[in-house]
């Protein structure tokens, strides 16, 4: 994740998380307080309903009392009910009286419980229904009843009264309808609903997640085969729809706020991160330009903040790198000069050694006599001339500073024989030459081949323990291939061999394990072989000696 992205995320989190937490908390507090308020309203309404039902019941009682007086004074009714006359008047009496009294039910029963007149169900006359007044009396004179009509029963809040006519007791059961309009009149609030449940439908389903509920009970006369008093429940519920809507509105507002804040925060964070990351990006780009050969990059800043400090530190570091690189180049130059001097010294010594051996031979011969000196001179004159020629060529090469190899066809076997012949006395060491027959020429400068052989043979002789052992110089085609595929020179010894670490560093400049060694011999060999487009390979084992393979390209390649 980029610094800029992290900056954006961090900025958003810092801004949005507190906002979301605040919003959730506000919602919770609001819901709790509104729910509590709703519960308070429901509880209050239940109390109001209780009082209203009592008031309505009292009103019914008043009207029944008035009806009782009217019935008692109605001679036509009296005659009909006691003497059996004018049945039509009797049957219609309760209906007319019920409507005049503003009641929804009115039933007049005789002392046997037989319906003599019914207002809400005119044609149920003569039916026996003694349980209704009995249970109403048991309920204290008022209860909810299910009043039958031809079409469908309805729920009524009923009261009981009675009168005596002609020595017989008649009961009046009157009531008002407890229907939806009655219940609706009890509350003007559309969010509050009132429902009445009577047995057997006593279970009122209410979801506490969407409603606030409170109930009160009233006695209910359950008629039928087993008439008895049960409890009816008046359930007041307050819908939480408005709360839900309010919650939704708040959530929407907070969502808008979060989105807006997030957008603003993102823009601000983007601006800030851009403002912060742009100099860093530029600094990174400048830093990427810095290389060993590109230390001229300028790191300059007048900022007073951390970026300015970093820029200046990078500038100082680059400055130090520039100084170090200059010193390094100087050291390299000096090292190269020293290296050249040592190589020149080495090469000259290689050229002078045969001459010195010749002169030692001359001195030895001179001690043996003049004839012997003359003979020795004739014998060793070519060696001196060859050495001189070698030195001349060497001088010429150094004069040309890195002369290009000639690339002429080179008779490797001849160069091997010549080089070995110039070794002189090798003490207890045996130098064996195994030359391949019909070996094709290699494409290499003979002088280079000679320098390679002198270095490898010299190192091989030096590796022999106490100077005793064998050094074998052999030639052959590369990998036994066809003519012209290349020439391989192998220099093997029975010396100390090399460890893996020694082998890894054997071709480094100035690495040597010999006391007084320059550490340049194998380095020079590697460079010469590579310059001749050849290949160099070593097989070695500590205590078992080493074997150097030099593959040179064939003259026809």
């Amino acid at each position: 994740m980029t610094f800029r992205a992290r900056l954006l995320v961090g900025f958003g989190a810092v801004v949005l998380v507190p906002l979301v937490i605040f919003g959730l908390r506000v919602r919770t507090v609001m819901a709790d307080r509104l729910t509590a308020a709703y519960q308070q309203r429901v509880t209050s309404l239940v109390a109001v309903i209780q009082a209203d039902l009592d008031q309505q019941s009292a009103g019914v009682a008043t009207r029944l009392a008035a009806l009782k007086d009217a019935v008692a004074s109605d001679n036509r009714f009296r005659a009909a009910v006691l003497q059996g006359g004018d049945r039509s008047y009797l049957l219609d009496y309760a209906g007319n009286a019920m409507r005049l009294a503003g009641l929804a039910m009115l039933q007049i029963q005789d002392d046997e419980g037989r319906i003599v007149s019914s207002g809400h169900f005119r044609n149920e006359y003569d039916q026996l229904e003694p349980d209704l007044p009995r249970l109403l009396a048991a309920a204290g004179g008022t209860a909810l009843v299910r009043a039958r009509t031809p079409e469908a029963p309805f729920l009524a809040l009923a009261r009981l009264d009675s009168l005596r006519l002609g020595g017989r007791r008649f009961t009046l059961v009157g009531g008002i309808g407890v229907d939806s309009s009655f219940l609706a009149r009890l509350t003007p609030d559309s969010e509050l609903t009132i429902a009445v449940t009577v047995p057997p439908d006593s279970a009122t389903w209410a979801d506490p997640a969407t409603q606030v509920v409170s109930t009160l009970t009233r006695p209910f006369v359950a008629e039928g085969d087993s008439a008895r008093l049960l409890a009816a429940r008046i359930v007041v519920t307050h819908s939480l729809a408005s709360l839900t809507a309010l919650r939704r509105g708040v959530a929407l507002s907070f969502l808008v706020a979060v989105v807006a804040t997030g957008a603003i925060a993102s823009l601000l964070a983007a601006w800030l991160s851009t403002r912060i990351s742009r100099p860093l990006t530029a600094l990174a780009a400048k830093t990427a330009e810095v290389d060993v050969d590109r230390l001229d990059v300028a790191f300059e800043s007048d900022r007073a903040d951390e970026i300015g400090t970093l820029t200046r530190l990078l500038g100082a570091m680059t400055e130090r790198l520039r100084a170090g690189a200059a010193r390094l180049r100087e050291a390299e130059r000096r090292l190269a000069v020293g290296d050249l001097a040592r190589q020149v010294n080495h090469d000259i010594k290689n050229g002078l050694i045969p001459i010195r051996n010749v002169f030692r031979h001359f001195a030895q011969a001179a001690g043996e006599g003049p004839d012997r000196l003359a003979a020795a001179f004739r014998e060793r004159q070519p060696t001196v001339e060859s050495s001189i020629s070698y030195l001349e060529s060497l001088a010429g090469n150094y004069a040309r500073l890195s002369p290009q190899p000639t690339g002429e066809p080179c008779d490797v076997n001849a160069v091997v024989r010549e080089t070995v012949s110039r070794l002189g006395d090798t003490g207890r060491a045996e130098v064996r030459v195994e030359l391949a027959d019909a070996l094709g020429p290699a494409r290499a400068d003979p002088l280079v081949v000679r320098r390679i052989l002198e270095n490898l043979i010299g190192n091989a002789l030096d590796s022999l323990a106490a100077g005793a052992g064998r050094v074998t110089v052999s030639t052959g085609p590369v990998d036994g291939g066809a003519s012209g595929s290349g020439v391989r020179i192998t220099v093997a010894d029975t010396g100390k061999g090399m460890t893996k670490e020694q082998l890894n560093r054997a071709f480094d400049d100035f690495y040597t394990t010999k006391p007084g060694g320059t550490g340049l011999g194998l380095s020079i060999v590697r460079r010469l072989v590579l310059d001749a487009s050849g290949a160099l390979r070593v097989e070695t084992q500590p205590g078992a000696g080493s074997r150097f393979f030099v593959d040179l390209p064939g003259a026809s390649a």
Binding site: L91, N123, Q127, P150, E151
Partner: protein, 454 residues
């Protein structure tokens, strides 16, 4: 020569007899009722002549229904305006109307139209007019009519159909009419004619004697009065009496009680014209409980009696539907799927009272409710047979019980149960000193001319 002349005369007579073909059947003389027979006569015992009579009806009268009435008001009004071939009086006697005489030959009835019978517009009434009128209302009947001449037609039995009693031809639905140019009231052959409501008084219809300043020429026929017909809502019947109505047919006890308190009015009970039945589909699980028929009479607000209309075997005619061939029509609703309700036409108060009483008695089981439906919905529910029971009003159809059953009862009723409940009738509140009125078999009143016999 004389013998030759005699032979010529005999041959000529025979030839003439052959050319004349079958001799025309002489119809029996018109059945009559002695002028002194007042068994079906209402109102004045003495002949009273009035120029104008005001008739109040408590139900709407729709010209589109003419001449087949659909309520008592239309029955009363249409009876003054239209004629069937004959009519049946309150004693069940067939009397001439548009037909002056008739005879029966096996299953075939032959009718001779009244001499000089004319439509209101003066056009003579012919047998072709009779067939044309029937074709629009009972095409099956029209197909079995044979026209002998302009004034004679015969009607045979329909193939596979029920017998045709003579009284069938008294059905108001078979009254002879023809469409009026421009629509409106059909043109009839009755003694009163009517073309529409009076301008400015849409609730007032005026029926005038034919020839009285209108169609049919001057002079009118039989000294009939001008009849003004006013429509009043059912609860306005007493207002109609207070307004001076001369005649009111009503079954409301309050109105009758009020009329009894008024001077100059008399209450004339009409014939028992309707029977209420409880129709229960076959297989109704609850069965029919104790009806307590004697207590049903108190359930309705009109004049009622326990149903006792019976056929010749002593059974109510509508309970013997099997003999009418009305079999095989079963309700398609399973007994268990029926709605637990007793259905009635909500416009019929007596039906509502009876259904309530049946519910109160638990006749079809407790939990059954009464349900009043609009007329169309009631008809649909009745045809479907998906309810526990139906309270149905059947009009008295003394002429053909099977035809009445086919018209009034659903096809499935032959497999169900028809329980007679109550007979009901209306009352005529009549101002004294009215022209004479005849009462028909179904309680319909007709104005009679002071000089005519019934």
């Amino acid at each position: 020569m004389n013998s030759l002349r005699k032979r010529i005369i005999v041959v000529s007579l025979l030839a003439a007899a052959c050319r004349a073909g079958r001799p025309r059947a002489e119809l029996p003389p018109t059945p009559g009722v002695a002028p002194s027979d007042t068994s079906c006569t209402l109102a004045a015992s003495a002949v009273v002549s009035r120029d104008t009579v005001t008739l109040a009806v408590t139900a709407p009268v729709d010209p589109a229904h003419a001449p087949a009435p659909r309520n008592d008001a239309e029955r009363l009004v249409f009876a003054q305006l239209y004629e069937s071939l004959l009519r049946v009086d309150c004693q069940g006697r067939a009397l001439p109307a548009l037909a002056r005489s008739w005879s029966q030959d096996g299953d075939r009835w032959t009718f001779a139209l009244r001499e000089g019978a004319r439509f209101w517009d003066g056009a003579p009434v012919t047998a072709v007019d009779v067939v044309a009128a029937w074709r629009s209302r009972d095409s099956g009947l029209a197909r079995v009519v044979t026209i002998a001449d302009d004034h004679t037609l015969s009607v045979g039995k329909r193939a596979g159909g029920p017998d045709m009693p003579l009284e069938l031809f008294a059905d108001p639905a078979l009254a002879v009419t023809k469409p009026a140019p421009g629509g409106g009231w059909p043109i009839g052959t009755g003694r009163l004619w009517l073309t529409g409501a009076e301008a400015g008084t849409p609730d007032l219809l005026v029926a005038r004697p034919v020839g009285h300043g209108g169609p049919g020429g001057p002079g009118g026929r039989g000294g009939l009065p001008v009849v003004k017909i006013t429509s009043t809502p059912p609860d306005g019947a007493r207002d109609a009496l207070d307004g001076g109505a001369d005649m009111l047919v009503v079954d409301d006890p309050a109105t009758l009680e009020y009329a009894a308190r008024l001077r100059g009015y008399t209450d004339a009970p009409l014939e028992w014209s309707r029977t209420y039945v409880l129709l229960v589909p076959a297989g109704e699980r609850a069965g029919v409980g104790d009806l307590r028929l004697e207590s049903l009479r108190e359930a309705v607000h009109g004049d009622a009696r326990p149903a006792e209309e019976s056929d010749e075997k002593g059974h109510p005619w509508f309970t013997e539907l099997a003999r009418c061939g009305l079999v095989g029509g079963r309700d398609a609703v399973e007994a268990g799927a029926r709605r637990r309700r007793i259905v009635y036409n909500q416009a019929d108060r007596s039906a509502a009272d009876l259904a309530a009483r049946l519910v109160g008695l638990g006749v079809l089981g407790r939990g059954t409710a009464a349900a009043g439906l609009p007329a169309a919905a009631f008809g649909s529910a009745l045809r479907a047979g998906g309810d526990a029971g139906y309270v149905l009003e059947l009009h008295a159809r003394v002429y053909d019980a099977c035809r009445a059953a086919a018209v009034e009862l659903p096809p499935w009723s032959s497999a169900g149960k028809v329980v007679p409940l109550l007979d009901v009738r209306s009352h005529a509140v009549l101002r004294r000193a009215l022209p004479r009125l005849w009462s028909d078999w179904d309680g319909t009143l007709r104005f009679a001319s002071p000089t005519a016999s019934p």
